[in-house]
């Protein structure tokens, strides 16, 4: 079970990394970032799972899964969504100046 999750997580993360590395379209970059974030979320939740555990809603009918990691993941999802929204805003703003969504064009930061 855990092995399966780990394989998925590593593949998903690498796929996201590959996307960000090779794609020039800013939206594809965002997709890659989302995939990487999803991989991390999946890792946390599958790490929180304990075989035969119950969801952390009281009263429990047996052993429970790890609620602390669930709380962390929840936080991570909300903050990740805010980050993505900010990324969209940046893309829109940069698009207004450069008339493109090619990340290679956004090189003004070069000192």
């Amino acid at each position: 079970m855990a092995i399966m999750s780990f394989i998925t997580v590593s593949l998903l993360f690498s796929l996201g990394l590959f996307t960000v590395l090779t794609r020039r379209n800013a939206f594809k970059t965002v997709i890659g970032l989302t995939l990487m974030e999803s991989a991390v979320l999946l890792l946390l939740i599958s790490w929180a799972y304990i075989p035969d555990g119950w969801a952390p809603i009281l009263p429990l009918k047996g052993g429970g899964v790890d609620p602390l990691l669930h709380a962390f993941t929840l936080t991570a999802i909300v903050i990740g969504a805010c980050d993505l929204a900010l990324a969209f805003a940046f893309i829109m703003k940069l698009n207004k100046f450069e008339r493109t969504v090619d990340v290679d064009v956004f090189r003004r930061l070069k000192g």
Partner: protein, 471 residues
């Protein structure tokens, strides 16, 4: 267990007061110096960005906090310089961060060993600290960045750099030095004092003259640190305070000259004494303080340093010679810039000259009580010294000043000799800088601005780490 992040102690309060006075004076001066309103606004903001990290660094209990705050203040200074000369600012930042990376190694070791500030660091870590802080304090060999940066920065920023930024390196050296004479810092200090005085005598650029004079005075402070006694620490802090303030004042003065005459070259200046009487009076006071004439705070602080170095007569002799050089260079600045006939009649005295003079007066007001009560600050640091004005000391000081005048007279007889020497030395420094800059060129080429390239580097680094840790 929660340990305190910040500590308050006399040896921390004194530099903080210095920083406060200097920043206040710079703010006042900057209002007059910068003509453009947006420049003024940026300077004000960056001044605060400099001031608060500096306070954090001075009062921080651990090395890590000290390190972080110092680097933040470095970035603030970088931004201030970058508004005038971007390339010089980048070079300054590169040099400072190169030093910082060395310092970080020492800081990491000290933090892991749980050593706070003002506890002697173990011998193994000392090289990192000395090299890292040496770049900031311009120890010999690591001082190459100082004249250029101090010479090109805007005058109030030069005052901050010379008055405080280098002193924070000295503060770090004080915090790390052991309670025994250091045979590294003592000769380094003597060498700095002599070299700085010699070079400042050769300079034709007002600000570079002041920058080398800073190196010379830092030599006194570093040597006092190296003495390793609490008396030496007090003397170093005292001279730090006095020198920081008056070097700020002198840079302000240089800034006024630059604004009024449009040049920093001593050969083209002249006759400013009648054009700028207030500035001239304040310059006289500052020069007398740097030389250490009796009745000025510089006399007291130099006397204290000589007291701290009583055990090393050779050093005292070196400082005597250095003082002659200092006196000669400041006589030179006085006669060239303020004396003589007015060479340029471009008397477009800025409207805001009054504000600039107010900045200098502010520092004078801080320094004047120190001149009247020379024993006050040492007492604050826990050192009771009563015999500031002995006849021998006064005579020695006046004698060195007179020697300085003689040296200047002799130098004036053969000006082309000095110029040739200066050119050769400057050319050597230039070549060294160019060689050192090759490394940063490589970095610049790698820094392509391609965002995906950075990510690739990060991924590769992560991969290397993973491979490294899985075997």
């Amino acid at each position: 267990m929660i340990s305190a992040l910040f500590v308050v102690a006399p040896q921390r309060v004194l530099p903080a007061l210095l920083a406060g006075a200097l920043v206040g004076a710079s703010a006042l001066y900057g209002e007059g110096y910068f003509g453009d309103a947006s420049e003024r606004r940026a300077f004000r903001a960056l001044l605060l960005c400099f001031f608060f990290p500096v306070l954090g660094a001075l009062f921080s209990a651990g090395w890590l906090e000290f390190f972080v705050f110092v680097e933040v203040s470095t970035v603030a200074l970088f931004l201030m310089i970058a508004r005038k000369r971007r390339d010089v600012a980048l070079r300054y930042l590169a040099v400072q961060f190169a030093g910082a990376s060395l310092l970080l190694a020492g800081v990491a070791g000290a933090t892991m060993a749980g050593i706070p500030l003002f506890v002697p660091a173990p011998r193994g870590l000392l090289p990192f600290f000395i090299l890292g802080l040496g770049v900031k304090a311009a120890l010999p060999g690591l001082h190459f960045w100082l004249p250029e940066v101090h010479g090109t920065a805007p005058a109030p920023v030069s005052a901050l750099l010379s008055g405080f930024a280098v002193k924070i390196g000295v503060f770090g050296l004080l915090a790390v030095s052991a309670h025994e004479p250091s045979y590294l810092l003592l000769p380094a200090g003597a060498f700095m004092a002599l070299w700085g005085a010699f070079m400042s005598l050769l300079q034709q650029d007002v600000k570079r003259l002041l920058a080398y004079s800073t190196i010379s005075q830092l030599g006194y402070i570093v040597a006092a640190c190296g003495a390793g006694t609490s008396f030496g620490v007090a003397a170093a802090l005292y001279h730090t305070t006095v020198h920081g303030l008056l070097k700020g004042m002198l840079f302000f003065c240089a800034g006024i000259l630059e604004k009024v005459y449009g040049t920093k070259n001593l050969n083209e200046l002249g006759g400013a004494a009648t054009a700028l009487p207030v500035t001239f009076a304040l310059f006289l006071f500052a020069a007398a303080t740097v030389i250490g004439l009796p009745g000025t705070p510089g006399f007291a602080s130099k006397g204290l340093i000589k007291g701290a170095l009583e055990a090393f007569p050779l050093l005292s002799f070196c400082f005597l010679i250095a003082n002659v050089g200092t006196a000669a260079s400041f006589f030179k600045m006085g006669t060239f810039a303020f004396g003589g006939v007015r060479k340029r009649t471009r008397d477009n005295i800025p409207e805001r000259l009054r504000l600039m003079n107010a900045g200098m007066l502010f520092i004078f007001a801080v320094l004047a009580p120190l001149a009247l009560f020379p024993g006050m600050l040492p007492l604050f640091l826990g050192v009771r010294e009563t015999s500031f004005y002995s006849a021998a000391k006064c005579a020695e000081s006046i004698f060195t000043a007179a020697c300085g005048a003689v040296v200047l007279y002799a130098y004036q007889k053969r000006p082309e000799f000095g110029e040739r020497l200066l050119n050769r030395l400057d050319g050597r420094t230039e070549r060294f800088l160019r060689t050192a800059g090759k490394g940063s060129l490589l970095m610049r080429r790698m820094q392509s601005g391609l965002l995906r390239g950075y990510l690739f580097a990060a991924a590769l680094a992560a991969l290397v780490l993973m491979v490294f840790f899985s075997w």
